[in-house]
Structure formats: C-alpha cells, structure tokens
Symmetry: C2
Subunit: 431 residues, 2 copies
C-alpha cells in the first residue's frame, strides 16, 4: 500500500468536490491501485468562515486540517501532491511555484494561472523532477489535455475548436430557446449562480481565450499566448440576430477556434453561427465539446461537463492518481517561453463566412450600392435577405458571404455609405 | 536523444499506416520528445509477397527489414517495442507473449487476442516489468482506453455504451438511407472492401462483443469475458423494420451496452433503436462513438474514426511514444483472470423498451388477444401501430413497450397465439 498525503490550496466548490470524491472512493482506490490518499492540510482565507461554509454544504472537514498559512501546505515535507483550487492568477501561481520548488507534484484546474505562468511553472517542475497536471483546466471532465499530450502526441494537429465556456453557452442557449435578450438572461444566470456577479471573464470571452491558448500551445507544439487570441464576447449579441440566424438555418455559439496551416496560426474566440445540424449546434447549456482534426487521426469529438464540482473533481482526481502512481511525469513538448513561438506567424486574416446585418434606408438602389462594396473587395455574397422594420421604415438587410479573408470583409464593411445603411451586427459563420 | 528500435508483427493496412506515420513524423518526434524511433524488423508471411503488396501501396519498406521468422522480432535484443498487427487470436497472442517474455513493451490493436488472453499477456508484462498498450483495440482513434484507465480511474462508472463496429454501422447507415435490404448492402460493402469476404466477425456482433468485454472490464474494474456478453448481430435486420422505426422516430444502430448497478452487470450487443435526435443516431458510416457515465464525471461522449489505417496508426503511435517515454507502465486495475469477476452477477434480465413487429390475421379481437399477452406479464405498451400488408390480407402490428424486464418481454412473446399472429422482429429501444 502506497500512502500519500495531499495538500489543498483553497477549498471552494471544486476543492469540496475533490475532498468528497477522495473520501467516498478511498477504499476503492486502495483496492484498485494500492493507493491510500489522505488530505493533510487545506489553505483557507479564514478558518472560521470555511468551517461555516462547509457546514452549510454538508462537507465535514475537520478543523485541524485547515490553515491560513500557505507554507503549511506548500512546504510540509509530509505532503507529496498539492492541488490548487484558488482560481485567478495570484497568489495561486506563486503558491504553486512554492509547492513545486519543495518537490511536490502540483495539480491545478486554474487556466488563468497556468496560461499566464506556464513557462515558470513548468521550468520549476522540471528542475524539481516533479509533475504539473492540469486536465481540468480546459473543458472540465473532457479529456482533451491527455488526448493532445499522449494520444495524439505523434499526430499533426491542424484544428482544435469547440465550446469551452459553459456560462456563455448557457446564456446563448436560453436566449435562443426563450427569445430573450442578453441582459435579461445574464441577470437570471447570475441569480441562479450560473454566472459570476462580475461576469466579464466569461461573457467577454477571456476564460475561453485562456483555455484556447492552452489548447493551441499543446496541439501545435509551440507557445500560443492569450495575447495571440483574437477575442469577441457575447455582450453585443442580440435576440434579433439569433432569430434571423435560425431562420437561415444557423445556431449561435461562442467558439474557441485554433487552426494551423504550416507555420501560419489563427486563434480566435467569438460568437459563431453553426449550421443547426452541426454536432456543436446541439451542445446545450453547460456542456462543453471540443473537435480535433489531425493529419492522421482525422476528426475526433469529445463532449462532457465543462464545469460543476463533481465532474471537475473526477478530472482532477484522475490527475491525482496518475501523479501518485507516476515516477517520472510527462511534460508537454513545446517551446515553453512567456512569448509566442517565434516559428509561428499569427494571422488576423483568416478565411471565414460572415453573417452581416445592416439597417438600410428603404429606397431604390440601396441594394446595388451595398452589393458593390462587397464586390469591390472580392467578397462574394452567398445569400441575402431583406426584412422590413415595423417602426421606422428602414429595412434590415441580412447578408451571408461565401468564405472570404476577414480583412476583406472588414474593408467591405468600411466602404458602406453611412448615409444609406448602418452595420448592426457581424457574426462569423463556420460550417 | 533516445534511440529506440521497433519490431512489427505483421504489416498489413494498419502496420503500413504506422510505418508511414513513423517515417513522416520521425524528425518531428525527435524535436518534440527527443525520440528517434526506427523500425528494425517486420514479420511477414512471405517476403516476396509483402514486397509486391507494399509496392502496390507505394510503401517503400526495404527488403532487409522483412523476415519470415517471428523470433527475429520477438527475441532481437536491439528491439525494445514490439507492435502486433496480425489480427486474430493465434499466433498473435503467442508471439506477443514471446516478446513480453523478452522484456519488450508490446502494443496491439488486436481485440480478439487481447480479450481472450488478457490474463496471460498482463501477467507476463508484469513479470517482465514492461508494458502492454492497446488504445487502438476499441474504437480506433477514440481515446476510450486511456480515458477509462487514467482520466476516470477514480470515478465510479455505471454505463459505457456506443457504436463500436464500423462495418455494421456502414451497412445499417446505407440500409436506412437507400431502403435496401441487408444482403444487397453487405455484398456492396464486400465489393468496396468495407466488409470482409467472411463477414461473420462483424455482422454477427462478435467484434463488438470482444470490444465490449474490454470496455466493461476496464470500466467496472473486474473481468468481464466475451462469454458474458449477450450478442445479436444484424443479419436478421430488415429494411422494413428500419422504415417502420423511422416512422416512429427511431434510427437503428448496432450498440454495445455495458451497465452496472452495484454488483449486477449487464453486457449486450444487439441492434438497437435510438430516438432520431439521440447523438448516437447521427453517427454514420464508419464513425464510432462511445458514451460513458460515471457517478462523478456524469455524461461524456467520445467520437472518432473507428477504423482506417491512418486513424488507427495515430492511436498506435500515441501508445508507442508513451511506451518509449515510460519507465514504468500503468496496468489496468482489475481482477485479471480468465474468468469473469466472481463479485459480479451477470444479469440477462435487463430493463429495456422493445419494438415488436408481428404479422397478424386481420380480424376482430386479435388486438385484444395480443394486448392481453403483454398485460399478463405486466409489460406495458407505449404505442401501437397497425399497417395493412398489401399482399396477403394479414396486417403488420407494431408495438413499442415501456421499459420492462427482458425476460418478461420474452415471456409475453411466448404467450402469443401462433394461429393469429407471428413474431417477425423484436428490436430493443434505448432512449
């Protein structure tokens, strides 16, 4: 029997889930793997507060496990695995570095701290001959990290994309089903605890951008930083565009998209129309789903709970067991620097179809003048739909383009004469 | 740089794919993982024949790599990883045992040899302190083996099910799309090389049963043998039932289903109706897809190419790289004996809905008498549809039951009076 003591940094929802899983599965893990895992110390902000919160959740964590001093976890010689559940960049990253420097394996689900400090964390892990695991940092229970790092290690990945933020997917799903506007659904999600009081991290696409930078770095074997990720959130999405999109056979999702063609890399997070029969179009609520395409593996799709205490705990405990059994951890194999891989050239001129909604004055010749703007930039129009606006006599003009370079689409939009029409929305379309 | 020599047992489609991938990705794998992998010996039945076949495929394998003697691969002290591509139980299993006994890591995609000799193979691997990898043995490129063995190692899995045979899925997909009968589509699939000249292994559900026994053993942490898998193939499936099913909102798939409730285990492979909007209903052609449900992870779905030389090669090479980097392999953690786990009780009385098609004489009172047979066994009928048969004046009676114990459904069917109706088809329905 191998006895191992764990330390937790933080003990919120996810930490509580891991604590519960380890307790409930303790005997089973002894039987399965000859591992006796016990939690030895848990860092909390305030012991009294933590006891109260745990009490409310029905989680019985003995007072003597709790500490308000990080070094009781990061430097305790009895602890061999440290799990970080604090979230946010600091002090989580600093504490993880301390734990690694004391030769403890570190396991985290914290995409922010990881994405911003990967080079330091990995360098310290390698120097201390310990491991850094982060399966739960992207896609919750979806096994995308191990799939990229192990299963597809010998493949040549050219595309990774998917729904990697549950909060925005929940909001968009409800907007589509109920025809409600963004603000109303957001407030409701906040009331239900499904969106943060300050929702910017999710709704501005930052969470997805952090995750995409991790996925792209692993998939393309070179560092892609968050700054390389083009980002649009869902705050400008209107119920009107969701409804028009549906009429034209599309469902709106916030996608993270990373593509590679030779040394040219594009990484982007933005609201995206997908054909209603696309597998991702049916991934609703807080589910996440990720597509991978490689030269050899071809298409692969992985789907599962992107959040939630127990699914995330399942992914983290998979890491814990691997760390406990492992003598020599794998490291992701890429140029790990704070800077993007110098062999990549990042493009902002990807090929995309676009859904464009204009409000236009309703008089002869307008359509021709709008069309001309696109023609001049060689952006070909796939379909066009005109809707009369009930109130002010102006018309909604909806255009779907054929695939065209992003910058050509933007130049075409810049050519539009503001005296006859106004750009109301531009949403990219993937097939 | 770590230099490693590989030996191949066999070099058919998959072996050729692995050879090609290792050649094309050689320099990239040096850069990524500091691994220089080269193939040193390949066992073939006839060197001259192999050269001719490779020539046709455009695969340039030097003659001096080929041998007709297994021990040139299994006993060569220079070879550290042996990949088996022969298929079938013997001599593949015997050669793998030889390689393991010579302390070589073994990698296989051979579900038959593995399912039938797992205990011996694993015991020899453990005794020799080497590893046995088989990610490609189930679901091709789908990472199900590593997900069960590593990601979900600390979870409590209660369901694994999915489409795990590409040939039958191809046949059923074409039967549904073209309204053709089984025999016709099978012949066409054989002509296209998508079904074997002797198709029994696939169409009788044996291939799926071997795979399901592997999945169930890993998921439930106890040995489930092929003999424990209830099995019905697709040879009796008619275009008529596919058409009637579609009318009622169902799509027909050959599913492997493993469920566990406490110590009670059910494992079955049979044609299954799924609601048309079920994610598995849209997995067409040679795609595979697997659902997993656990106490913590909740629902997860993995989808990808279940066959094909390059996707399978991608999965195998993921194993090769892990084997090459690994000092001490993981072993699946279950009672590994040739016999089923004694702590499991295998049930053949699972709960299921059933689609039942009867041909009945068209006269008053028949419906009542049929209904009574089901009522007597407490099998509740969810919907019933009567179709007039154009030719002989008899009617097709289609019944969908509510979930009921399998044996109760069978007893109800046994009660039917053969002078008024005849059982034409019974197909289970999953939601």
């Amino acid at each position: 029997m191998k006895q191992l003591s764990l330390g937790f940094l933080g003990c919120g929802n996810i930490g509580g889930g891991v604590y519960r899983l380890l307790e409930e599965m303790h005997d089973e893990l002894e039987k399965r793997d000859g591992l006796s895992l016990s939690v030895r110390k848990i860092l909390v902000k305030s012991i009294d507060e933590a006891l109260e919160i745990n009490e409310k959740k029905g989680l019985h964590v003995p007072r003597e496990l709790l500490t308000e001093h990080a070094e009781d976890v990061t430097a305790d010689p009895e602890i061999s695995i440290v799990c970080e559940f604090m979230g946010g960049e600091q002090p989580a990253a600093r504490f993880m570095l301390e734990a690694l420097s004391h030769a403890k394996h570190v396991i985290t689900a914290n995409k922010v701290a990881l994405a911003l400090n990967w080079d330091k964390l990995q360098a310290q892990a390698e120097a201390s001959h310990v491991g850094l695991w982060y399966e739960a940092s992207v896609g919750g229970v979806i096994p995308i990290i191990r799939v990229l790092n192990v299963n597809l290690e010998s493949d040549r990945i050219d595309r990774v994309y998917g729904i990697i933020n549950g909060t925005t997917n929940y909001i968009l799903t409800r907007m589509a089903k109920e025809g409600k506007d963004y603000d109303e659904v957001l407030r409701d999600a906040q009331r239900l605890g499904l969106a943060e009081p300050n929702p910017a991290m999710d709704v501005e696409g930052m969470d997805a951008a952090y995750k995409l930078s991790i996925l792209a770095s692993l998939a393309f074997h070179g560092r892609v930083t968050c700054q390389q990720v083009y980002r649009e959130g869902i705050t400008q999405v209107s119920a009107l565009d969701i409804a028009f999109g549906r009429e034209m056979g599309y469902t709106l999702k916030l996608l993270g998209i990373a593509k590679r063609d030779g040394s040219v890399v594009e990484t982007r997070v933005h609201p995206t129309f997908l054909p209603v029969d696309h597998p991702l179009a049916r991934v609703d609520g807080s589910l996440n789903a990720i597509f991978v395409h490689g030269a050899y593996c071809q298409d692969m799709m992985l789907q599962g709970r992107g959040a939630g205490d127990l699914p995330t705990a399942s992914a983290i405990c998979g890491d814990i067991v691997e760390a406990a059994l492992s003598e020599r951890p794998h490291y992701p194999t890429f140029r790990n620097t704070p800077d993007p891989d110098p062999s990549f050239s990042f493009t902002d001129n990807w090929l995309t179809r676009a859904y464009i909604r204009l409000s236009a004055v309703d008089r002869p010749g307008v359509l021709a003048r709008v069309s001309e703007c696109f023609a001049k930039e060689s952006v070909s129009i796939a379909s066009m739909l005109q809707k009369e606006a009930p109130d002010d006599g102006s018309a909604s003009l909806i255009i779907i383009t054929h695939p065209a370079p992003e910058q050509a689409i933007r130049r075409a939009l810049a050519r539009l004469d503001s005296s006859i029409c106004k750009l109301e929305a531009m949403i990219r379309v993937e097939e």
